[in-house]
Amino acid sequence: MQLIRAEQLVKTYRAGEVEVPAVKGVDFTIDAKSFVAFVGPSGSGKTTLLNMIGCLDHPTSGKLTVLDTDVASLDRRAAANFRGQHMGFVFQDFNLIPVLSVYENIEYPLIMVQNWPEQKRRAQITRLLEAVGMAGQANKRPDQISGGQKQRVAVARALATNAKLVLADEPTANLDHDTAYQVLGLMKKMRDELGTTFLFSTHDPKIMAEAEVLFTLEDGRLNNATVAAKAEAAHA
């Protein structure tokens, strides 16, 4: 089942009188429950592509369908609603809310975005805290846990609303190698358990190896797509 479809997707930024092309007409499809990496050097258009898929930015031209919705046509409020209903985000700098505890950070989208009842919230957060191995740290503030733990919490927050798609922009860039592998392993585990599609961007070759589908971007263009054999095996 196709989750994302991009056709001749173009994004051009304007800096004063100068137009800067970031994505130059890319086509791709991404299936549901896949574990996909966009790779490429800095400035290749990875983040721009993720932003467009995540309804944070609009394409200049082309067509982009996510979960059967033409996301390019969504206005500001509809885009926020779409993100809140279907997507989760993991950021390079974790971006946890410093005044909230680990538990409350995961709870945040459930009360501020989706308004879940308390009992249902508690059950979901408890399950996610156990799944990401943070059950014992629920009451700690972000400044009381390590970088790897913060990213685990960020993954749990992204999954809290039962998102069908999680977008992670350089999720391992601020983590040491071992921790980065642990976080990727966690994301893959979540994909297997919950059927969530994970899209992440990276330029770390070792991390790329963990992806089941690789899209390589160079200067705003898609070079090839590599579907790892193990992914096929996993989906078979």
């Binding site: 609603n81 993100r83 985000f89 909230l100």
Partner: protein, 415 residues
């Protein structure tokens, strides 16, 4: 909403020092304004009391046109007995009225047999005048303050006149007056008391019994120049003024036009402008408070948005609706306003209560041993609180709006 409130509270706690500073500013502003209102209100009430209880009364009834030419004390604009009776019937039916006093006012020549000068005289019914103008005995700097205020054949004279003509208590003096028909008449009086001067119109008048006045003026019927009225509650002034105006409109001349007019003390005394000045000062203080609240909350909220741009980007990216982001920042501003106002109001009320316990005594004009009694009405507290909270909310509106409209991509890349 409760969750927004909880997160807003935590955000304020996160920047504790700044929150404390802003709340303190708002608190101090509220304390300053409420105390000013309370103390200025107390002085204002005392000052008004000088005029109403010492000379004028709260309201005065005259024949139409009398006040316009009051400087010449026209005898042709006195109220005839039938008219006076109608006014008294109206006044007797009004429960808000504590007392009233009929006066005959006229200008006369005052002589100690060697020197002569002019004087304005009030002919009064002593008991009624004392009930309507309760501070009158207090103005006596010489002579008995015990009732009655006057007996027939006696006169109370102002201090300046007594000093100028070297008149003492018990001296015999002569009043010479010209009546409406142009006939001149004279009458001797014994000085019963010397009055301290009072501020405002009639503050340097002499007083005699009303029957002596009528006799001196050779009135053929008991006319009255004015009727001074004392209210049980001065706060009812405007209401009674309006009601009296309506009720007395029924007293008409042969052409069917009203012949009487009612004036409040403020319309008769130039000192009402001082009272207006106090009100104006209060207004300026309120404007200053609003400015303090506006600037301090605006400053805090602009800083809060600026420092949390990435955080705003994060919560926007994960799908927080713009309206909820707006409400989050508005709630922070609102909490600052509510917290500062609550604390400020509590401190103000405590200080006002302490001033009541302490009983600060002072003298003002003819009034001795006045007790400073600051008070704020519930209405004042509610108006100030609502004003501050509203300003805090308004000051947060622009930063909150900015936060809610922020582009998540730019916000997330903000360093």
């Amino acid at each position: 909403m409760l969750n927004v409130l909880k997160i807003a509270l935590r955000n304020l706690a996160r920047y504790g020092r700044r929150t404390l500073l802003t709340s303190t500013l708002i608190t101090l502003g509220v304390v300053a304004v409420l105390l000013f209102i309370g103390i200025a209100g107390s002085f204002k009430a005392l000052m008004i009391g000088q005029f109403t209880d010492g000379v004028l009364g709260n309201l005065e009834v005259h024949r139409k046109g009398y006040v316009a030419s009051i400087d010449s004390l026209p005898l042709n604009l006195n109220m005839p007995p039938a008219m006076v009776q109608k006014v008294e019937q109206v006044l007797d039916k009004m429960p808000q009225i504590d007392a009233y006093s009929e006066r005959v006012k006229f200008g006369a020549m005052f002589s100690n047999f060697t020197e002569t000068t002019s004087i304005r005289i009030n002919g009064v019914v002593p008991a009624k005048e004392a009930a309507t103008i309760p501070l009158m005995p207090g103005r006596l700097i010489e002579g008995s303050k015990q009732p009655p205020l006057l007996r027939p054949g006696e006169i109370l004279i102002p201090k300046l006149l007594a000093q100028g003509l070297k008149v003492k208590l018990g001296d015999t003096v002569v009043l010479v007056a010209t009546n409406l028909q142009g006939s001149v008449n004279g009458k001797t009086f014994v000085v019963r008391g010397i009055l301290d001067s009072a501020s405002g119109p009639s503050g340097r008048d002499g007083y005699i019994d009303i029957n002596d006045a009528r006799s001196l003026l050779r009135m053929t019927q008991p006319e009255v120049s004015e009727i001074a009225i004392r209210l049980k509650d001065p706060a009812q002034l405007d209401q009674v003024d309006a009601q009296l105006g309506r009720d007395l409109a029924g007293v008409t001349n042969q052409q069917g036009k009203p012949v009487l007019e009612v004036h409040t003390w403020a319309e008769l005394s130039p000192f009402s402008s001082i009272v207006k000045m106090i009100d104006l000062l209060t207004l300026f203080i309120k404007i200053m408070l609003v400015s303090i609240v506006l600037v301090s909350v605006l400053n805090v909220m602009i800083m809060a948005v600026y420092e949390r741009i990435r955080e705003i980007g994060t919560i926007a990216a994960i799908g927080t609706p713009p309206a909820r982001i707006l409400s989050l920042f508005l709630t922070e501003g609102l909490l600052l306003g509510v917290g500062g106002t609550a604390l400020g109001t509590a401190i103000s009320l405590a200080v006002i209560y302490a001033l009541h316990l302490r009983k600060i005594v002072f003298n003002f004009g003819m009034q001795q041993g006045l007790v400073l009694a600051p008070s704020v009405s519930v209405r004042d507290v509610v108006v100030i609180a609502a004003m501050v909270v509203l300003m805090a909310l308004l000051a947060s509106l622009q930063p909150a709006w900015k936060a809610s409209r922020m582009d998540p991509v730019r916000a997330l890349s903000h360093v």
